[in-house]
Symmetry: C2
Subunit: 131 residues, 2 copies
């Protein structure tokens, strides 16, 4: 049953819970439920069930020492971003990351001047590195 976490894709609802955990850090079910419900009202046992499933899958770990178990994300936001971005690129952009970038930037109003500067910095870095 052990599975490589790095290849595990969270479902839509699981992603909502991961977002709460990334935001809050280690949390009880109740805390997660309250955070998630701000976005999308969700019952307590629903959230509990997801956390149990995710624990089984290895997406989260939990500390059972207290009466109210404390859950913590076992995948980082960055890794998940990379994974899901890769999958989108594969499925929809013919495997070309830069096509995704162009699409994301192409939509007007996408970025503030500061963000553009940050992107430019990365770009400079990449070009320096490759030469």
């Amino acid at each position: 049953m052990t599975q490589t976490v790095s290849q595990l894709r969270p479902t839509a609802a699981e992603l909502g819970i991961l977002r709460a955990l990334w935001d809050l850090g280690p949390s009880t079910v109740r805390q997660v439920q309250e955070a998630v419900s701000r976005d999308e009202p969700t019952g307590y046992t629903t959230v509990l069930k997801f956390l149990q499933i995710m624990h089984q899958k290895g997406l989260v770990e939990r500390d059972e020492s207290s009466r109210a178990h404390v859950y913590r994300a076992r995948v980082t936001q960055q890794d998940t971003q990379r994974l899901m971005t890769s999958q989108l690129v594969d499925r929809l952009f013919d495997g070309s990351r830069s096509k995704l970038v162009l699409a994301a930037l192409g939509d007007s109003g996408a970025a503030t001047p500061e963000e553009l500067a940050a992107i430019r910095a990365v770009l400079n870095d990449l070009e320096r590195r490759s030469s």
Copy 2:
């Protein structure tokens, strides 16, 4: 039953079929099935069923004048790219497109010099536009 196509999100299997249609242009079920099966072997009636469902949803249109109906994508690849990219950004990048861009570029080996140049061009364009 009429629904705005621009908000319609194709499922995983539907996306595979759309990719074939984008690639081939207007095609019969058999042609789509052959193309899709190169990636992922799929039965004829399975593909037919999907095309029927997608027709119902408005994702594709069909010409029934010949015995073998001819299907054609009703959403462009670009629109779908925009839609799904937006959703990824909302769900996983706190609504910031540039975070997605940084993540996509950050992975080394992502882009060739030509691609980087193309991105830089878009960047220049954006900055000129905003000033």
